[in-house]
């Protein structure tokens, strides 16, 4: 086809076909604009309905500012004379998180081996492991804590158990995904040397994924320290329980001291975890 003929075919001649093509372009543009308009309306609708559902009253923030100011005035200065009494609950809080993370790691590692599709010994084991991990993760740690408080009574132990079980769910899933994403060539090579399944696990899989496992576990410890503070509110011991007690007794200067301690713990855990993870990389 010559250049002229090509130009004519492409639009040089205005025939019925070209006319309809042009119309179709116009319709396409109109439909696109309409869809964009609907999407914008939908977005606005979602934002508005959240305000309605949460019964948002921004004006209350302004009228309530006096109450907040009064609370803060009564909370300063922090009552540092209560510091010695806060040491033990602080240690409890940290140890609840450590205990929960350790329990979680110990149970999650073998469970992840069963729940990773590339190394699981059978499909049945895979589905059972996935179900256990799913259940442990689906139930919030606060609910686990309430269950364990009912079972073993008040104190740090139910808190540690609650974090342990919930960590099994979170760590099990992340560990399994890490195993599923690893390079399988060294694993197959080890299998062919005649190494048994557990030997392949100890000498092939663990060394390969160890930095990831440690990184995930440290991140989980960081999360568990925050969670263990909240678990005290439902009777699972630690500084959270002391904070709740101080609030109930209107001891706001003690509350501010405890909040400072919580801030320091959370920040220290976050920095330590980040530093260790950076070292692992």
């Amino acid at each position: 086809m010559s250049v002229d003929a090509a130009q004519a075919g492409a639009g040089g001649v205005r025939g019925p076909g070209n006319s309809s093509g042009s119309n179709s372009g116009t319709w396409g543009g109109a439909v696109g604009t309409a869809i964009r308009f609907v999407l914008i309306l939908l977005g606005i609708g979602i934002v508005v309905q959240t305000f309605i559902v949460v019964e948002a009253r921004p004006q209350d923030l302004i009228t309530g500012v006096h109450g907040m100011a009064d609370l803060i005035r009564r909370a300063v200065p922090p009552d540092f004379s209560k510091l010695p009494a806060a040491v033990w609950p602080t240690l409890q809080t940290i140890d609840i998180a450590l205990f929960g993370t350790m329990v979680g790691v110990i149970i999650a590692v073998p469970l992840a081996m069963l729940a990773a599709s590339n190394v699981t010994p059978s499909r049945l084991a895979y589905y059972i492991a996935r179900a256990i991990i799913g259940l442990a993760r689906a139930v919030p740690d606060l609910v686990w804590a309430l269950l364990f408080v009912t079972a073993v009574g008040l104190g740090p132990f139910p808190g540690g158990l609650a974090l342990g079980v919930h960590s099994v769910g979170m760590l099990g899933r992340l560990f399994a995904e890490t195993i599923e994403q690893m390079d399988m060539a060294p694993i197959h090579a080890l299998e062919l040397t005649g190494a048994r399944r557990i030997q392949v696990f100890s000498h092939g899989i663990i060394p390969t994924i160890l930095p990831s496992l440690l990184g995930i576990s440290l991140y989980r410890l960081d999360e568990n320290i925050r969670s263990s503070l909240v678990l005290g509110f439902v009777g699972a011991g630690g500084i959270g329980f002391q904070l709740l007690t101080a609030m109930n007794l209107f001891q706001y200067q003690e509350v501010s001291l405890l909040l400072i301690i919580i801030f320091v713990i959370v920040l220290a855990a976050e920095r330590l975890s980040a530093a260790l993870r950076a070292h692992l990389d």
């Binding site: 060294p186 090579a189 062919l192 040397t193 005649g194 048994r196 100890s202």
Partner: protein, 247 residues
């Protein structure tokens, strides 16, 4: 030593990957398998190691038919077969020495190796195997830091730690530069001749086959096209092998 008799493999799709394939690898012999892509070379090795179960035929290793075994008996019998892969198959985060020594894991109980590690004499033997492949100074280095050629030599050292009678190599030089490829082939030849190891090596590089093989097997459409001593191999026969693959 290694004898493959009438080996056939049909995939579930119905495609016949190997048809009545027979070969023998003797101690001290380096046998190279040549053939185009999809001709069945790697499938043959997978059937020999029983990572694929052949539809018919037998694989005899030192008088034991691997095709008749399953489970622990198969694992035990397969200890005599070592495999070197095309891609780097080392555990990258452990030391070179640990990778080599891991070839001996299959000879020891799980409890012993998991809790007490391998015995000291196995670690010494692993050092010797590293020296055999010329990498003794790198024993403590992390495997992930090695070059492609070095990694492949460590993989061969690991295969030696297994104390095999036959070494299978699936395109061991595919990702290496010419110099490293020559090094690996020289090493395989040395192991075959000085250690009386049977070596069955799948290659794409015809020149390497001419330079190092004792015998060359041509494979086309899952069947043997020729099985000749290197001295009797004509370039025309090899050319025909690849021409017919292209056709």
């Amino acid at each position: 030593m290694l004898r493959v008799c009438d080996l056939s493999l049909r995939y579930p799709s119905g495609k016949l990957a190997l048809t009545g394939f027979s070969l023998e690898v003797l101690p001290g012999e380096l046998v190279v398998v040549l053939g185009g892509n999809g001709s069945g070379k790697s499938t043959l090795l997978r059937c020999i190691t029983r990572t694929l179960k052949p539809s018919a035929g037998e694989v005899w290793l030192d008088g034991i038919n691997l095709c008749a075994l399953e489970g622990e008996k198969l694992r035990q019998a397969r200890l005599g077969l070592a495999m070197v892969w095309q891609q780097v198959s080392l555990v990258r985060r452990t030391s070179v020495l640990a990778n080599v020594a891991s070839g001996a894991l299959g000879r020891y109980s799980t409890l012993r190796t998991v809790f007490a590690g391998l015995p000291a004499d196995e670690l010494e033997a692993a050092r010797d195997h590293l020296a055999d492949v010329g990498l003794a100074p790198l024993a403590a280095q992390r495997a992930g830091t090695l070059s492609g050629g070095q990694a492949q030599r460590v993989a061969i050292a690991r295969a030696l730690a297994q104390r095999p009678r036959v070494l299978l190599a699936d395109e061991p030089v595919a990702s290496l530069d010419p110099e490293a490829s020559e090094e690996i082939m020289r090493l395989l030849q040395k192991l075959a001749h000085s250690e009386q190891l049977g070596v069955l090596c799948v290659l794409h590089q015809i020149e390497l086959a001419y330079a190092y093989a004792d015998r060359v097997i041509g494979i086309r459409n899952g069947q043997i096209a020729f099985n000749l001593p290197r001295s009797e191999l004509s370039r025309d026969a090899v050319r025909q092998l690849y021409l017919s693959e292209a056709a």
